[in-house]
Symmetry: C2
């Protein structure tokens, strides 16, 4: 059982955890209809089964020609070509060009038979119904996309491990792909712990509070492309917690405890994780505020997290540690990046070197400048959650930030 | 029929459109279970029906005391207090303090009766089983959250027009809210136009290509919190397009045409929009590359867009113009911001002043530095779509960007 009881910086904590995990390559995959594949992760390289385009297409409105007929053309000494027809959109040409002939061509349309280039309409002048002047020569293949220019058969369209975006759907649709092999979504078990915690649909008695974390963390799990599976609320009792945790680790790929906030209950979480299996707790405490009491562990190759009970702290640890771990499990090489912006700080902020601080801020646009106003509240109250537009990071090595400084804000 | 046939910058185009639209305040709303409200938009201010917390809670592990008993305490001359009990988590106290007494208190737990402050355990020393030394005085209310400190009854928890995030769900759950009034999601009709376009599940014949835009734009519509309603493919025929457009404008809140790419079909789109109703086409052409042939219009207070047929162009115009319009329709004051990052440009890029250029780039992390590599391809081929991590913007007033410059990249 390897344990580190000294706090570590969040990025080091994440690395310690990831080093102990097998790569995401081994996760099972499934084939799903392309219409359901948005935001899933590809399980293998996707290769093109077709030539794209499968016919030569014009990239301009103009005239398909034999390039040779335009060689040497200038405004002063243009080439004269005879218009012998038009190739309508969506159909193959019904005729071929002879020397000195041209055919009307549309962007995305086919060229006439024997044509090998397209002259832009802007470089031509209409003399009469059947004749154009070409005022600029074109090379063979100019203004034409040839078969396979975009994708050849067997070309890689999307690599393994890519988070599928709207444009990827477009690329796959273009080559007729109907089903996509994707990594199965990890299932994340959620256990709220604490004698004071009651379900959100009940009226809390004196001393009790509603279970917020199951719901905020469920939402974040789903935003990270995983399936949230809540296991309810466990009392501050070792046997009860161990029992529900054993069920959770059996049924899920990842387990998240949201622990009670007192010292005694935090120690209970670590004890439960260590009893679940090996290696157990790997990191106990992060140099992070809020979020210090976080616990990171692994049991049977499955990541287990003990998040602080405070909802703001739990969300920050999720964002810094849990979310990247979930994408790692899927072998995802391009997880959606954290959305950040820059803003001018409206107040001095004190911090402690050696600790990463995150301060909820409200953003306000004044003219062209965005200001970040810290939202203060005793012990990260609920309203600081909903009032904030983002989190201001005070880096590990800083003792504070000054009013007027341009700072980085993580939107959330 | 007000029409502007000169191209306008994208931001001006958006403003012209929004000025002609009624504010989002008039959209209908519905009450939905809170568990389904993530990423929806609130239809009214949400007020707290409860005090939060509804009892005085300790913010520290330590001892609840009468503050007066600690006044003047120092390390040299501590106050001695008798421990008369413990208030377990989740339960009210079963006893009250007399002068000179203290009770064990936990973070988030209640204070003993008659206690008015909490001494942090770090500022105490245990003398024996029943006695502590307090080495630092506390003021009345110190380390305590009083009832309503977080939210009072009637306090605004979330304003009208907010895009609901994970933390908002948490805040609403905390005060027992079970249903949320949200703006009804706008329905966006999609019509692909072009004689060459065929459904993606068919094998295109010579001259035909698969309908990509219905699928990329559907995905983007859904990512913007709206409902996509595809109306299929219309031929390059005025009567057919007008008929399907009339059906679309009748059934939907917004209509998006993805037009053919040739000049003649673009003009057809404008004609169809102008025949649908007034004011019709407002903007015909943007100073944007790719994306210039975009059309923005309004009919019966419903926005109508003619997107270019090229999939890359269509996505860029959607991002710059359609997405903000959709959030405007819902009266959303905090739409999720466009995700941007900065990177070092790996090549010189030429542009034209007076035009906004967007160039697909691949991002590569080398050590601490992120490089943006332009992905070139004739006429924005499909593979440029899936190969790119984002779009590099060349601002309106620039004639290009230089290798080594730090540039802003819009992730997509």
């Amino acid at each position: 059982m390897s344990e580190f009881f000294n706090v570590v910086p969040p990025s080091l904590g994440l690395n310690i955890l990831l080093e102990h995990l097998p790569s995401g390559a081994i996760r099972p995959f499934e084939n799903i209809p392309i219409g359901e594949s948005l935001h899933r992760v590809t399980a293998e390289d996707l290769l093109s089964p077709e030539l794209l385009p499968h016919f030569a297409r014009s990239t301009m409105d103009g005239f398909s020609v034999k390039a040779r007929d335009t060689f040497g053309a200038t405004e002063g000494l243009p080439s004269y070509l005879e218009i012998v027809g038009e190739v309508p959109m969506g159909t193959p040409p019904s005729f071929s060009l002879n020397t000195g002939e041209a055919a009307i061509a549309y962007t995305g349309g086919m060229l006439a038979g024997e044509a090998d280039a397209v002259v832009m309409v802007e470089n031509t002048q209409r003399i009469d119904e059947r004749t154009i002047e070409v005022m600029k020569p074109v090379a063979i293949g100019e203004n034409v996309i040839s078969p396979g220019d975009d994708l050849d058969i067997g070309d890689k369209v999307i690599s393994k491990g890519r988070h599928i975006r709207a444009q990827d759907i477009g690329a796959l649709r273009a080559i007729g792909i109907q089903t996509v092999p994707v990594v199965k979504q990890p299932t994340v078990g959620l256990i709220s712990m604490g004698d004071e915690i009651v379900p959100t649909d009940t009226i809390p008695k004196d001393g009790q509070i509603r279970d917020i974390n199951t719901h905020t963390i469920s939402a974040m799990v789903e935003e990270s492309g995983c399936i949230a599976k809540p296991f309810g609320i466990a009392k501050d009792n070792f046997e009860e917690q161990l029992h529900i945790a054993q069920q959770g680790i059996h049924e899920c790929d990842v387990l998240i405890f949201s622990a009670g906030s007192s010292v005694s209950t935090r120690d209970l979480t670590a004890e439960v994780i260590n009893h679940l299996g090996v290696p157990g707790v790997l990191v106990h405490g992060l140099s992070l505020k809020p979020g210090k009491p976080a616990i990171l562990g692994i049991v049977n190759n499955k990541p287990i997290f003990g998040l602080p009970g405070n909802p703001v702290s739990a969300m920050i640890v999720f964002d810094l540690i849990v979310r990247p771990t979930l994408y790692h499990l899927s072998g995802c090489v391009n997880p959606p990046m954290n959305n950040t912006t820059t803003a001018t700080l409206s107040l001095n902020i004190a911090s402690v070197p050696g600790r990463e601080d995150y301060i909820p801020v409200k953003l306000e646009l004044q003219g062209e400048e965005t200001f970040a106003h810290p939202v203060f509240g005793k012990s990260n109250l609920i309203h600081t959650l909903s009032a904030a537009d983002g989190l201001l990071q005070v880096p590990l090595d800083k003792s504070g930030l000054y009013q007027g400084e341009v700072v980085k804000v993580k939107l959330f």
